[in-house]
């Protein structure tokens, strides 16, 4: 692919909102996506690593052609754009140097959990007194206080207690019994959610600091952010006493070429009629033109619902997924192919929008493609890169600019 296709010069030069903001990222994998987002918005994010390298360098998958501490593609993905400083925080000198960096920073991301900052000799109250402008984002499993705060977790436990698992999975069998467990969507989603909400909270805290001069601490947990993320499920229960059952994203529909297809059968007025038209043009609407089907309530009854799915399934089996995507969308039918992530890299729409960016890996003598900008703007940039740092790659440079020059 050509990752620069469609980029205008103005967009390349778009200024970054967090230019000049310094972040110390002293946390485990749970806080890394947040630092990645802040870096993409322009912050200078410094990752603190122990001398043997950060534990995230041991998380897979790995790139076989390049061994050692820099072969974790997980590390690449979540630490792109950051700088690495090595400190042995267990030693007095290391802790003092960490404190120097924190003192020079605008934001600290930490994941020590309840009492963690205190045990490290960096209690929030002390930091706040000494560095009143500092914003601390504390990332933990269940929060820094409360009845479950001492509990341990991780991605799976967050997706379980946060409610995503109990609504996600496969349909029950004909006897109404589920023969499969609740499904936890993969790829560290709770860390993504804490990264999104953490970035929002940090932006809000920066806005407050701009007005008041005061920093603050934000306590964000994987458990709470996942709970924020089941669409309207809580609202439906709190207001309508509806308990949403576990179900897949879509009825199983497979195109002629083997690709699964996401169908939606008429949310807005007028959409159902367009679906029927689409099927009818291929001569495959069967009895769906019967006006009774225009009533969403009747169409939604179990027997009719199954029949509609069957008719649509027969139609889709005669189509190629990508061609169907365009034909449907041009008709106002909001369907799409269930693509694998990399299948959009060469899609011109997404290259126009900088959704994929090639980043130089000089150690491999090649570029590697990463997901890029969530938005397009000539005034509000988004940075993807440079590649994730090697262990301690920036220790001297960061101390020289953050500490030595500042005190000179």
């Amino acid at each position: 692919m050509n990752a620069t296709t469609g980029k205008s010069d103005k967009r390349n030069a778009a200024p970054l909102a967090l230019e000049g903001i310094k972040v110390v990222e002293w946390c485990d994998h749970r806080g890394e996506f947040c630092g990645r987002m802040l870096s993409s918005m322009g912050a200078e994010v410094v990752k603190i690593e122990p001398p043997q390298g950060h534990a995230s360098r041991g998380i897979g998958p790995f790139n076989d052609e390049f061994g050692g501490a820099d072969s974790s593609i997980y590390w690449w993905s979540y630490n792109i754009g950051k700088k690495s400083v090595v400190l042995d925080v267990a030693q007095t000198d290391g802790l003092a140097r960490l404190r120097q960096l924190i003192g020079a920073a605008d934001i600290l991301i930490e994941s020590g959990g309840p009492g963690g900052l205190e045990r490290a000799g960096l209690a929030w109250e002390d930091l706040h007194r000494e560095f009143p402008r500092l914003i601390v984002l504390s990332v933990s499993d269940f929060g820094i206080d409360g009845p479950w705060s001492g509990y341990t977790g991780g991605d799976l436990i967050a997706l379980a207690t946060g409610g995503i698992m109990m609504v996600s999975g496969y349909p029950p069998g004909a006897d109404g019994r589920y023969d499969t467990p609740p499904i936890a969507p993969q790829m560290h989603q709770s860390a993504h959610l804490i990264g999104c909400l953490g970035s929002m909270d940090v932006l809000a805290a920066l806005a407050w600091r701009d007005r008041s001069g005061r920093g603050q601490r934000i306590d964000l947990s994987l458990h709470a952010v996942v709970n924020n993320c089941t669409e309207n499920n809580l609202a439906w229960y709190m207001i309508g006493k509806r308990v949403v059952p576990r179900k897949p994203q879509m009825p199983e529909m497979r195109a002629r070429d083997g690709t699964f297809v996401q169908v939606l059968l008429g949310l807005f007025p007028g959409e159902w009629e367009r679906v029927v038209e689409l099927l009818d043009e291929a001569g495959m609407a069967e009895d769906l033109k019967d006006p009774r089907y225009s009533d969403p309530a009747w169409r939604g009854l179990p027997e009719q619902n199954r029949h509609v799915d069957d008719v649509v399934r027969r139609f889709i089996a005669t189509q190629d997924a990508e061609a169907l995507f365009h034909a449907a969308q041009k008709k106002g039918v909001v369907w799409g192919p269930i693509r694998e992530p990399q299948q959009s890299i060469d899609d011109p729409h997404f290259s126009t929008r900088d959704n994929f960016v090639a980043v130089r890996h000089e150690e491999l003598d090649r570029d590697v493609v990463y997901p890029g900008a969530p938005w397009v703007s000539e005034q509000l940039g988004w940075r993807t890169g440079p590649r994730a740092p090697r262990v301690g790659e920036h220790t001297d440079a960061v101390f020289s600019t953050w500490v030595d020059k500042a005190s000179a």
Binding site: L193, V244, Q262, S344, I345, H349
Partner: protein, 435 residues
């Protein structure tokens, strides 16, 4: 530039605010609908921005008519006649000021123009060309107020070949690769059981607006952001894209297992034969495994060689899962969670909505649920934001101190205070079908 110099300072209710919130003084013209847009601006209201939500009866948000509805004592079955009783809508627009406005009427356009003059931000998630078709594209908005921020978030974004395509949450997850990545290895993808991108897309709307506000405050210039619902989804696919790019390897689903951060057991286990009661258990290291074995009562199978090390357990997960699942069956979920957590094993009940609202003590401790009032339905609970702030706790009631607005509820306050319209003006505009 001093931030206070460039932000609107007169608030709609004309009273000094007691609360100190990060976005206090920021005024946002909110043209969002559906979850994919409305949730994003609600977050901004929770941080203290003043949201003026515009809607028109000719094309109401379909969520104003979507089930389930509030029960209104003595008037149970009237929800079909009122657009003010739908749970989703009344949740998405909490804390916003509600104004009805006909954007196709010349006088409606005039009112919109005057509102933009007094605003900091305009946000919509209509089809890409809608606002421009009404006569208010980016250039026009900028001519009305040079330092305005305009963020639009159509399904696929404004520029690009799919500008006219549309997306709902499931479409975005399908195109983005998220649906493909969730589910069991030997089955089709399950995807998520809800519209993930209808929640995460709005996080990016909130982020984009706050980043743009910071940018404007630094430069004094307006900011236009062409956002989308689909775009952020690629950022949520973990290491898949660089892995494919570097090695040619494709992502393979592994159900509930944890191939990258190694753990075994790592899954959901049944606690009841006839009910959907499950617990999630994860052992990331030897200490957690040994603690689990102790809580299980040291069964003979646990000392077999095939479970002796983490690597061995990873190799034998089918049998391991069956054994752990046989042990959890019939046990009380919450008691089991407490017993396992007591000895440091990562365990958590797979909570459904009733568990989360009625039983979860940690959410209650964090004051996650907040009761709000409404003009037509009884008080109800909504979710706050998850972050606990030491200095500026988010305000789930926004700047209204109120739940969701009924249709056009704040016409008089907003148009009166901000534009100086009298009650007579407003009645005349209503007669002319402008508001």
């Amino acid at each position: 530039m001093n931030r206070m110099d460039c932000c609107s300072t007169e608030s709609i209710d004309g009273e000094a605010k007691l609360m100190a919130l990060p976005l206090e003084g920021v005024r946002i013209i909110d043209l969002t609908w559906l979850n994919a847009g409305a949730k994003g601006t609600r977050h901004l209201s929770t941080y203290g921005a003043e949201l003026i939500h515009l809607e028109w009866k000719g094309k109401l948000d379909v969520l104003r008519w979507a089930t389930p509805f509030h029960a209104v004592p003595g008037d149970e079955n009237n929800h079909a006649k009122s657009p003010n009783r739908a749970a989703s809508f009344n949740t998405n627009h909490v804390g916003k000021w509600g104004v009805s406005l006909n954007m196709r009427h010349p006088k409606g356009k005039d009112i919109f123009r005057r509102l933009v003059e007094k605003a900091d931000v305009v946000v919509d998630n209509f089809t890409a060309s809608t606002l421009a078709d009404w006569g208010f594209g980016w250039e026009v908005l900028q001519s009305i107020k040079p330092d305005i921020i305009y963020l639009q978030a159509p399904g696929f974004g404004r520029i690009g070949a799919y500008a006219d395509y549309r997306s709902y949450g499931p479409t975005a997850a399908a195109i983005g690769g998220l649906t493909w990545q969730a589910g069991l290895a030997d089955r089709p993808p399950s995807g998520y059981g809800f519209s993930y991108m209808d929640v995460v897309g709005p996080y990016f709307i909130a982020m984009g607006v706050m980043a743009a506000l910071r940018q404007r405050n630094r430069t004094g210039k307006g900011v236009y952001v062409d956002a989308s619902q689909v775009g952020p989804s690629f950022l949520l696919t973990g290491s898949s894209i660089p892995e494919w790019s570097a090695t040619g390897r494709r992502y393979v689903r592994t159900g509930n297992r944890s191939p990258y951060i190694k753990a075994a057991p790592h899954g959901a286990y049944r606690c009841a034969a006839d009910e959907e009661k499950w617990i999630a258990i994860a052992c990331y290291d030897e200490a957690q495994w040994k603690a689990l074995v102790t809580v299980m009562g040291n069964p003979a199978w646990a000392s077999e060689a095939r479970f002796a090390t983490l690597d061995a357990r990873l190799q034998n997960q089918d049998v391991l899962d069956a054994n752990v699942g046989a042990w959890t069956l019939g046990k009380d979920r919450y008691a089991l969670m407490a017993a396992l957590q007591q000895v440091g094993v990562a365990a958590g009940v797979c909570q459904d909505v009733s568990d989360r609202y009625d039983r979860d003590p940690q959410l209650r401790h964090r004051n996650y649920f907040v009761r709000v009032r409404h003009s037509e339905v009884p008080p109800y609970d909504v979710e706050s934001l998850p972050g606990v702030f030491s200095e500026t706790p988010p305000s789930p009631l926004g700047t209204t101190g109120w739940g969701c607005h009924t249709y056009g509820e704040h016409n008089e306050q907003v148009l009166g205070r901000l534009l100086g319209l009298t009650r007579d003006d407003i009645e005349a505009l209503a007669r002319e079908d402008v508001i």
